[in-house]
């Protein structure tokens, strides 16, 4: 356990550098996420958003710096199963399989201890029912995933992460393939998870409007962290555009990193 770890600290990233296929995608990034925060991670394609998520999940190893999830390196025995992963449902789920919403959410209750032999205990059944209810799919529990709309599909995948009872939820572009009406209810769901169910959320999206609508805090990534602070203090989109290409120096909450010289 690191001395930087406090009870409230869900994610601690210090001077993280990550390379993918020989190219340095992230260079000396520092982020702190505390319990109960709802953070939006935005930035253009290729800015390293996905790389950052993969580093937090422990799939990519840092070249430099460190990532601590609940005070420990990612995917070690102390925090395995404590992070819920919500991929972009529209593109990530295989199309050639019949599986119901309940079956998908049930998979979320698997972990390193019970994946070989898991009895359907009342506790697990209750967790599944609760997850179904939280994502509003109780009525559709026995529907085939292929019959769902984009928004419902994304809810089902969020339900799977909730079934694992993880406190920290990572979402990668959850709004892609979701129509406008469902988009708002999906954002309300995330808001509810954060405020009423004690979840800490890090959501990657390129939909800045959606992110500003719900999150408390925004991290703008483009060649390093360009902004990290309260959502309401985020500058105008035009200003964001102007900032492109400016090097960042240091992470100071709530201020633009006026980098360069």
């Amino acid at each position: 356990m690191s001395e930087k770890y406090s009870e409230d600290s869900i994610l601690t990233i210090r001077n993280l550098s990550v390379s993918r296929s020989g190219e340095e995608v992230l260079e000396s990034i520092s982020i702190d996420i505390r319990r109960g925060e709802f953070v939006g991670l935005v930035g253009p394609n290729g800015s390293g958003k996905t790389t950052l998520l993969l580093a937090i999940l422990g799939i990519l190893r840092p070249m430099g710096g460190e990532v601590l999830v609940f005070g420990h390196v990612p995917a070690c025995k102390h925090n395995l199963g404590m992070v819920g992963w919500v991929p972009q449902a529209a593109t990530q789920l295989p199309k050639n399989i019949h599986i119901t919403v309940r079956e998908l959410i049930r998979l979320g209750t698997l972990n390193q201890d019970n994946f070989l032999w898991r009895l359907m205990t009342p506790d697990i059944r209750e967790r599944i029912d609760r997850s179904l209810e939280m994502v509003g799919l109780t009525e559709m529990a026995d529907a085939d995933l292929s019959s769902l709309s984009g928004g419902q599909l994304q809810r089902a995948v969020i339900g799977r992460a909730l079934a694992s009872d993880s406190e920290f939820i990572l979402l990668d572009e959850p709004l892609v393939g979701v129509d406008r009406a469902s988009r708002n209810s999906l954002l309300r769901l995330l808001d509810d998870l954060c405020h009423n169910h004690g979840k800490t959320i890090l959501m990657v999206s390129h939909d800045l409007a959606a992110v500003t609508q719900t999150t408390h805090r925004i991290i703008y990534l483009e060649g390093g962290i360009q902004y990290d602070g309260p959502t309401e203090e985020l500058p105008e989109l035009s200003e964001l555009a102007n900032l492109r290409g400016i090097e960042h120096v240091h992470s100071v909450h709530g201020e633009w990193h006026k980098g360069g010289k």
Partner: protein, 302 residues
């Protein structure tokens, strides 16, 4: 001594008791005496293949059954040249190695699934044939028997192997099915949950190899894909959940085998080919029913 005889001592009296009620002239022999081994072997392999095939289909690995079957044929050639009385064990070793290498090559993304399967299919098959030819003309191998299936010739020893592999793989698949489904649907999410995606993938490859080898005897290499994929594919047409697809796969697989054996016995036709044709026909009938008849019955639904 073997697992096969142990099973037969339990199953045989039951089969004999229903034999008098079985239709046909030759078909009853599959229930009393002569071809009992054949019937038991086919049914076992069908159950396992259906279970395994349900996962292969959703993992887009339908071709691996065919590939490993050819690899195992190469192994059989080598076993015969080395004078083994049970060349099937050589087939088992060869296809296990191939299955693991195919999985690893896909995992580290050296080659796509198709290409790596094709390399092992041709490489091992050709190697086996070369070894057979270079060892001197004395040895001949019943290529046709292996390619087209010779279920009626299932010996006690073959049955031992099939029973053993079937029991082990059904237990193994039952244990890993939830984890494997999670890994198949979303490897990253499964890894994050703490499920060992690579370990399960490797283990699944080994089971696949073992099952394919045990099937070579029953339906022949050319028809391995039929039992592995066709019932599972047919189940996709009617199933609404993963569980119901697993059950439908068994229904279609066992129906294909029983009808296939019956028709081949009565028409004196090759058993393996008949089973494959029946399985494909069931797929066609169900497909036509689903896509043509049901929309006609419910015109307002679309």
């Amino acid at each position: 001594m073997g697992t096969g005889s142990a099973l037969m001592s339990v199953v045989s009296p039951f089969l004999e008791s229903i034999a008098p009620f079985v239709p046909g002239e030759t078909f009853p022999h599959y229930f009393s005496g002569l071809f009992q081994n054949a019937l038991v072997a086919s049914v076992l392999v069908t159950i396992v293949a259906g279970f395994l095939g349900s996962f292969l289909l959703v993992r887009n690995l339908s071709l691996i059954g065919d590939g490993l079957a050819h690899v195992s044929f190469g192994g059989i050639c080598v076993g015969i040249v080395l004078g083994s009385s049970s060349p099937l064990w050589f087939a088992l070793v060869f296809s296990t190695i191939a299955a693991i290498l195919i999985f690893e090559m896909q995992r580290v993304e050296i080659l796509t699934g198709d290409a790596s399967i094709a390399i092992f299919l041709t490489g091992f098959l050709a190697f086996g044939l070369l070894v057979l030819r270079l060892s001197g003309g004395g040895i001949s191998i019943d290529v046709e028997g292996y390619l087209f299936g010779s279920v009626n010739l299932t010996s006690e020893k073959d049955l031992d192997l099939i029973v053993y592999i079937s029991v082990v793989s059904i237990i193994s698949l039952s244990l890993i099915q939830n984890g494997l489904l999670a890994v198949t649907i979303d490897p990253l999410a499964a890894t994050v949950q703490g499920i060992p995606a690579r370990g399960l993938g490797l283990f699944f490859s080994v089971i696949t190899a073992a099952v394919v080898v045990s099937m070579v005897q029953v339906v022949g290499t050319l028809l391995v894909t039929a039992l592995l994929v066709t019932p599972a594919a047919t189940s996709q047409l009617v199933g609404k959940s993963f569980r119901s697809c697993l059950i439908w796969t068994q229904v279609f697989g066992l129906t294909s085998v029983i009808i296939g054996i019956y028709l081949s016995a009565e028409m004196v036709a090759p058993t393996g080919s008949m089973i494959a044709v029946v399985a494909a026909s069931i797929f066609a009938v169900v497909g036509i029913y689903q896509s043509l008849v049901i929309p006609l019955l419910k015109p307002g639904d679309n």
